[in-house]
């Protein structure tokens, strides 16, 4: 009757990198937890069981638990991914979990992506630059936009700032001030938007150096890891050509 195929009952081992930086005695260490697998179990479910039943101090971040808010990026067997939409049945008996590298550690699997993203956003000014936004006549019919262009903009805007591309990036590990694929993609998004009045030389000011588009070594870790399948490689290549021409 039940058409969800029943897995053979498995006991999973979650091997979690533990560390509480607010505790001076805490040393990073791996800790194993055993969880009985259930049908359609996600890492969201498994980690909550561990916290509720075994270790109430375990730290991790989930908000939407539906793959849309970007809170739960972590290294799952070494690969950056969203934990909430990772099914345990796609993983082996032992799953190694670690916090995303490249971000300040809050504790255990929780990292401060928010602070990093806000910094990136302030630095790259990821908002529409236009005159008179505050005094715009809101009674008037809106400006028309080509329907295709609106769709293209949305395709680039699907980024959920999860940080997986940053964690996967080789440049990031060498250059702390690098804006990452996430930042470059956002510039590509605003550059495409006719409502933003910035020129290419304005964008060049923001990303025309080694911490921007010329720092990227196009190893494309980011493109493979993005859970929203954003066309990061294409966008970076495009921006690089465009900025080289400025």
């Amino acid at each position: 009757m039940n058409t969800i195929p029943l897995n053979q009952a498995r006991t999973l081992t979650l091997r979690i990198l533990r560390h509480n930086p607010t505790d001076p005695d805490s040393e990073p260490r791996l800790q194993d937890f055993q969880v009985e697998e259930t049908d359609a179990m996600t890492l969201f479910v498994a980690l909550n069981i561990v916290r509720e039943e075994q270790d109430p101090s375990l730290q991790f971040d989930f908000v939407c638990r539906a793959g849309i808010c970007g809170s739960c990026g972590m290294l799952i067997n070494g690969r950056p991914a969203l934990a909430c939409r990772t099914l345990t049945r796609d993983l082996g008996d032992t799953v190694v979990l670690a916090p995303l590298p490249g971000f300040a550690l809050i504790g255990d699997l929780s990292v401060d992506t928010g602070k990093w993203m806000r910094g990136m956003s302030e630095r790259l000014e990821t908002w529409i630059h236009a005159e008179g936004l505050e005094t715009k006549n809101l009674d008037a019919i809106e400006d028309a936009m080509d329907p295709e262009l609106a769709e293209q903009l949305y395709e680039l805007e699907r980024c959920i700032e999860c940080g997986c591309c940053v964690a996967a990036c080789g440049t990031m590990q060498m250059r702390e001030e690098f804006v990452g694929a996430v930042g470059l993609n956002q510039i590509a998004r605003f550059q495409l938007d006719p409502r933003d009045t910035r020129s290419d030389s304005d964008y060049y000011e923001l990303i025309g150096d080694d911490s921007g588009v010329f720092g990227c070594m196009t190893l494309l870790g980011c493109d493979d890891m993005c859970p929203k399948q954003l066309p990061l490689a294409t966008q970076i290549a495009f921006l690089r050509r465009r900025m080289a021409a400025v």
Binding site: T22, D61, V63, C64, I68, C69, E142, P147, R195
Partner: protein, 659 residues
């Protein structure tokens, strides 16, 4: 313990809070936003369907206007809404969407020429006019006369929240992330800020402000099964209640959506059934036609949810370790249709269930979805009881949704109410009431009181577990205060919640970890969530009628004669075990649209004697001014422009005005 001063403290970084913050900042005030999570992760990002605004650009929307949006919203509310507020809302929604367009939201746009659509199971071709090409498109949604839900592909809330957050960053508004307001600071008469706990370090601080605005979203997590994010625990409403002064409106009005995937509760769209999907029971038998021979799976949301729960209660669910559920079958639609038109459903099934919905059944069960109730405010989003406290968005009861909100009206409310609140907060700060004596001892007293409470929890020698008690509360709410309500089971639920309240005093922590300490968080939230749960349950028990989402099996009729009243819950004494309930009558004599049949659902309700009088009065008023246009007629029946901030009073232009 640090004290931070700001003009305006906005608690909540979703759409509503950020828009209010931007408005106040533009008026020159110093604004600080607090959020449990980075602002862009707020649950506003989850809205997929759309935002209602009567632009009337596309063919399905042509002829739409504020009047139609008003009537749909009031009917949807089952006449529980404040009609002046609904007018303010429907008038401002087009401006909100146009502002969001200027700020960068890539709204889906109308494409001129022929399009093929499916309506009522049949293929049709419609042709969009050239004049509308490139203007903001809208789609069809339940309970509306026109195609009115403006959308951004399947990520409306995400796109809106990003545009909003980016504008807040551009305005230089700081968002203090991973902070939780755990109490409001009051001097007995007005709100002066909040005590805040840092969710990374555990440190407490006080934020003192001339105006405080709560925008903390819904409280779905008092239920076991909810489409809401895990952070939607209602702390904003709870700390307002705990002032003993502010009141919560219509807390019993809770919306359930028929198809949350089981057991996670993640939403799958109504479009599955709209396109021909079926509901099956544990024996894979199609049961809806037996209950609703005419509309079957496509009866209204509340009706389908009720039938599903009824069928499960009769023992026909599919049973799993996590409980019972039913099946949604969209296999019959075929892989091609699913890959094209239900791509998102396919992805949800793939990632969260590991199934392919073109070959396998989707486990579903109705899930809590939206809280119509919240902090009761006046037209200006200002608490009626506690000066200096404002509330916006799902956390508020501004009251445009009454007892049932229409799809797409919620994100629209967040932005519109945020626009209005930004102005009224600034007006308040500029008024004589708007200055406060920033008394350090007030902040210190509030801080010490909270610190003492947290220490008491940490030192408790009881033997209760916060996680376990929270689960029991959630079970009770889902089982007894869900879609079907009866006096007897509501009474039992109140008893269980009181018992949990008593036991919650004995919660002991197993871990004394420094810093965030998630276990401590669960422990201090529990008694507050229980208070909200008691407001919902006690309110539902006392309301002996059925209205909108509040359905009493023992009182199945809407009873305007007795119950055209808004429930107001307060908690005057910290030692009280139950909320104090008061009622605020809705005045039919001031309604533009007196109570009537909604146009769907049962026709059977108990009338209020004033309804007929008001109807005659309205007919007379209209007859006296036969040449009045729609604006003049509206103004005759229920003037509202004076309630809006001056900048938002202009008439909305539409395509038809230019022709």
């Amino acid at each position: 313990m640090e004290i931070i001063y700001t003009d305006v403290l906005v608690i909540g970084g979703g759409l509503a809070g950020q828009r209010a913050a931007i408005g106040a900042r533009r008026r020159g005030l110093d604004v600080t936003i607090l959020s449990l999570v980075p602002a862009k992760r707020s649950h506003s990002a989850a809205a997929q369907g759309g935002m209602q605004a009567s632009l009337g650009n596309c063919l399905g929307g042509s002829g739409d206007n504020e009047d139609l949006h008003f009537a749909d919203t009031v009917r949807g509310s089952d006449w529980g809404a404040d009609q002046e507020v609904v007018r303010m809302f429907t008038h401002t929604a087009p401006k909100a969407i146009r502002e969001m367009a200027a700020w960068g939201v890539p709204w889906s746009r109308v494409r001129q020429g022929p399009h093929s659509i499916t309506e009522d199971g049949e293929q049709k071709t419609i042709t969009e006019p050239a004049a509308a090409h490139g203007l903001i498109d809208s789609r069809n949604f339940g309970g509306t006369a026109k195609w009115r839900a403006c959308y951004v592909a399947d990520g409306t809330g995400h796109a809106m929240l990003y545009a909003m957050s980016n504008q807040a960053i551009a305005a230089g508004i700081p968002v203090h992330e991973r902070l939780e307001a755990i109490a409001l600071i009051c001097d007995g008469e007005r709100c002066c800020g909040a005590v805040v706990r840092n969710l990374m370090t555990g440190a407490l601080s006080a934020y003192m402000a001339r105006a405080t605005c709560i925008a903390t979203g819904g409280f779905g997590r008092i239920y076991r099964v909810s489409t809401n994010a895990v952070i939607n625990e209602g702390m904003g409403a709870a700390i307002a209640l705990e002032t003993g002064i502010a009141r919560l409106g219509n807390m019993e009005a809770v919306q359930f959506h028929p198809t949350g995937i089981f057991p996670a509760g993640i939403l799958v769209t109504e479009g599955c059934r709209g396109d021909g999907g079926l509901l099956l029971d544990g024996a894979e038998h199609r049961f809806m036609p037996g209950y609703e021979p005419e509309k079957r799976e496509l009866a209204s949301r509340d009706v389908v949810s009720r039938r599903m729960e009824e069928h499960i209660a009769a023992g026909h669910g599919a049973t799993t370790r996590f409980g019972d559920h039913l099946w949604l079958d969209i296999r019959l639609l075929g892989a091609e249709h699913i890959d094209g038109k239900l791509r998102e459903v396919k992805e949800i099934c793939q990632y969260f269930l590991g199934i392919d919905p073109s070959r396998e059944l989707i486990p579903v069960r109705p899930a809590q979805h939206y809280s119509m109730g919240g902090i009761r405010t006046d037209h200006n989003c200002h608490s009626r009881e506690l000066r200096g406290l404002f509330a916006v968005g799902e956390a508020a009861c501004w009251d445009m949704h009454g007892f049932n909100r229409l799809g797409g009206n919620s994100v629209a409310e967040t932005v519109v109410a945020g626009m209005i609140a930004g102005e009224s907060i600034a007006d308040f700060c500029a008024s004589a009431d708007g200055s406060i004596q920033l008394a350090t001892n007030l902040a210190n007293d509030a801080l010490s009181a909270q610190a003492a409470q947290l220490t008491a929890i940490a030192d408790s020698t009881g033997n209760e577990s916060a996680v376990e008690l929270t689960k029991l509360m959630q079970e009770t709410m889902t089982d007894k205060v869900g879609i079907f309500r009866r006096g007897e089971s509501l009474q039992q639920a109140v008893q269980t919640l009181l018992e949990l309240q008593r036991r919650s005093a004995g919660v002991r922590l197993r871990s004394s970890a420094s810093g965030a300490n998630p276990e401590l968080v669960a422990a201090y939230r529990l008694p507050r969530m229980l208070k909200l749960a008691l407001c919902v349950t006690h309110g539902a028990l006392m309301r002996c009628e059925s209205r909108g989402a509040h359905y009493r099996e023992d009182y199945p009729q809407r009873d305007d004669a007795q119950w055209l009243r808004r429930t107001l819950a307060s908690w005057p004494d910290a030692d009280d075990t139950l909320p104090t309930l008061d009622y605020e009558a809705l005045d039919i004599h001031r309604m533009e649209l007196p109570p009537g049949w909604r146009g769907y659902g049962t026709k059977d309700s108990i009338d209020h004697p004033s309804t007929a009088i008001r109807e005659t009065e309205i007919a007379q008023l209209i007859a006296n001014y036969p040449e009045a246009d729609r604006y003049q007629r509206q103004n005759l029946l229920m003037p509202f422009h004076h309630l809006l901030p001056p900048g938002f009073r202009g008439r909305n232009q539409r395509l038809e005005d230019t022709e």
